[in-house]
Symmetry: none
Subunit: 221 residues, 2 copies
Amino acid sequence: MFKKVLIAEDMEDINKGVHTLLKELGILHIEQVQYCDDAYLKIKRAGLDNDPFEMIITDLSFKADHRSQTYPTGQALAEKLNAEFPELKVIVYSVEDRLQAVRTLFNQHHIDAYVCKSRSGLKNLTKAITEVVNGNTFLSPEVSNAFHSTNELEIDDYDISLLENLSKGLSQEEISALYKKVNISPASLSSIEKRLNKLRIQFNANNAIHLVAIVKDLGLI
Amino acid sequence: MFKKVLIAEDMEDINKGVHTLLKELGILHIEQVQYCDDAYLKIKRAGLDNDPFEMIITDLSFKADHRSQTYPTGQALAEKLNAEFPELKVIVYSVEDRLQAVRTLFNQHHIDAYVCKSRSGLKNLTKAITEVVNGNTFLSPEVSNAFHSTNELEIDDYDISLLENLSKGLSQEEISALYKKVNISPASLSSIEKRLNKLRIQFNANNAIHLVAIVKDLGLI
DNA sequence: ACAGTGGTTACGGAAATCCGTAATGTCTTT
DNA sequence: AAAGACATTACGGATTTCCGTAACCACTGT
């Protein structure tokens, strides 16, 4: 089990709940912060002191208040931590269940676990911690279909960009021209058509209108 | 002419351009901010000091940065200002040309003018100011059809049904066939096309995809 | 080196859309 | 009954999307 863990969570009650859980798991040194910026500073400091944190459990959304923050969200924090402290284990503990966000966190920012706050949130969090201790990753069942669900739902940023531009009213040809101008790689009309066709199949959409309606409902864009 | 005016605009160059224009119009006391929150604070302060601003010229979209904001957009700011300082004149100066947004600003938040940033943006802004000085309202020609066009903002159940079927992936021909079967009156493909065209114009949509995206955002479907 | 794989691009035809014009129908007004 | 206003429908052509096929290129591996 880990010895030194940090909790970043703005809601005091939840913060306290997680703290209790960690104590029950036998973690000796637990610190808590209510701002992402404070989390970063504490981790930085601990690194300089040669007594680094082994793991952080962080929320995604922190309500904004008077204090302006360099890292306003857990996502921003995760990105920074992955770049600067790649060995630090990161567990995200959030109500968010947007699959694309989860995918980005795993693929881009290499977090180790994603746990949804829900009825059985703490139970899943326990599972997540034991998995991460053993060097594995963990994904809450609520969002498990973000990856190994039925289909290989590989929706990357390019796809999102495509869908966003479509929903903004650009024709496929206009998107092609735009991508050529700003040097986004598959830029040909043909490639865009092909990619959209793939997305239509993945989302069971009859046509582009249907596709955009679906992904808007899913919150992907 | 007004004596004391505030400019809220995050792009420094534009901010400066508007400032110059106001000086040319003979406005003596001009202040500038790059965040909506600062605008609110300045207006609040001036009110408490019994030297209130007479007018604010504000953008709609402010790019987000590290500073967390209570009023992230000009829309949020306008709403607050209308509630707290109803006598303050508000001119919105934005690239946005979404008619529904303009309508909301006028009807809900009672702004005094809406000017589109465009080739002739500053010219229209001048007009807007003189109109507002005289107690009138002003609307950029680009969005003038938000109101005193036919102003047939009559979106009826038929329109909604059309948009819903579109978003469910039916082609216009399929919708036509469906309406013929269940005896919904304008059922011909031609009528459906015409109606959708009217909706596209009303919502400033480039195509059907764009239209569905817009009305989904508006919560119409 | 050579086949195999996967990603990008090109092309062409069918289908659907976009958009203007015009014909038909329906209802009201006089 | 005639005329006018307005909604519905019909039609034609330009554009766009949809979809299959295929060429081209980079990269991989026994």
